[in-house]
Symmetry: C2
Subunit: 218 residues, 2 copies
């Protein structure tokens, strides 16, 4: 994947000089599983993920790691360059979960483009909005911890009833069983999937790790 593909949202709005400057400044870097790309408080580069997987987490007051979201191929890691967003005043840590290759872009250059071009600024705002949405989901998930357990228990129960690890259940049906909203179920299923416990596809939920679900349900 080329740099222009990452920035397809505004590449055509850049001058040839700006395009050349971005291309000249971008550096490919490779990280091993467990390596930390960014530690809260520092201001590093803006990372664009070429391959692999990054985990972004915060530290709770008691030093516990709380995963906020994961970044995959084609995603941007915005908060490793938090100094380009002067009102961001929180710290996150970014760690490679698999072998990961990124483009690293200098914050200062990106910040200049953002100040000059509404397209770059709006693109970046979209990135922030996506991360904000993920963090809000995560918060909801933390607040709905009991609901998590109940969902896991419900899936295991249905699986036992059907005698199958593949369930055909609508999110509405699950929601009405748990007494919550469809959107909440959709988010919780998405979370269970990101943890590798289930696989959700159109009209089907496959239990991948019944033991993990059992643990959650307890």
């Amino acid at each position: 994947m080329e740099l222009r593909d990452f920035f397809a949202g505004f590449w055509k709005d850049l001058s040839p000089e700006e395009q050349a400057a971005l291309e000249a400044a971008a550096v490919r870097r490779r990280y091993q599983p467990g390596e930390v790309l960014h530690r809260g408080g520092e201001c590093d580069s803006l990372y664009a993920v070429l391959s692999g997987r990054l985990r972004v987490y915060m530290l709770s007051g008691e030093g516990r790691q709380v995963t906020l979201y994961r970044l995959f191929e084609r995603d941007f890691c915005l908060f490793s360059a938090s100094c380009i967003l002067k009102d961001i005043q929180f710290d996150v840590t970014v760690e490679a979960e698999k072998e990961t290759e990124v483009y690293a872009l200098p914050s200062a250059l990106y910040q200049r483009l953002m100040a000059e071009k509404a397209e770059v600024s709006n693109f970046t705002m979209g990135l922030m909005a996506s991360r904000f949405t993920e963090v809000m989901w995560r918060m909801e998930q933390i607040l709905s911890r009991k609901l998590d357990a109940r969902l896991a228990a419900f899936l295991l129960e249905e699986s036992a009833i059907e005698g199958s690890l593949s369930l055909h259940l609508t999110h509405e049906k699950i929601a009405s069983n748990l007494g919550t909203a469809r959107e909440v179920v959709t988010r919780l299923l998405k979370y269970l999937q990101s943890e590798g416990l289930i696989r959700v596809s159109r009209g089907e939920i496959v239990l991948l790790e019944p033991k993990g679900l059992q643990k959650l349900a307890e």
Copy 2:
């Protein structure tokens, strides 16, 4: 306060026509305590708070209201116009806590300005970044609930020792007593202050509601 004061960050970057359009479109509205200005899912106006206080909250899976932050005079309520930010996919409710007067600005006009002017877009990104920071603090506070209780207990204990409701304690000193980081203490104190339990000023912490602190400490 005039509209131009709210938008001082980019007012000079607008054309006279754009300034006139904003001024013509802005409507003053007044809300009574308990009135809901915005309910998740809808796309209303961008609100600029002239006076009063707004509470922004989310609903947990189990229907509990979780306060995310409060908005005061000079603040903007961005998420009541969430449709201008296409990647925001979560719902919040905005409610007046006191009698509140706002300027209401149509989303469509603001969105057009944001698309055209990098200054408007960057200004808006700053608003979002501030709210993001507050939500992260709130999340930290939720995750550090035990630390909350310990901080309240510590303040009450110090108050008993000193025989005074006014304490002269550095955040560092509190942090080392609780075994956490100074920033965490600063955020928790800020939270206790926003709840009206204490008042924090330079070098001084005043316990305003010892009973409320006692309840938290239990």
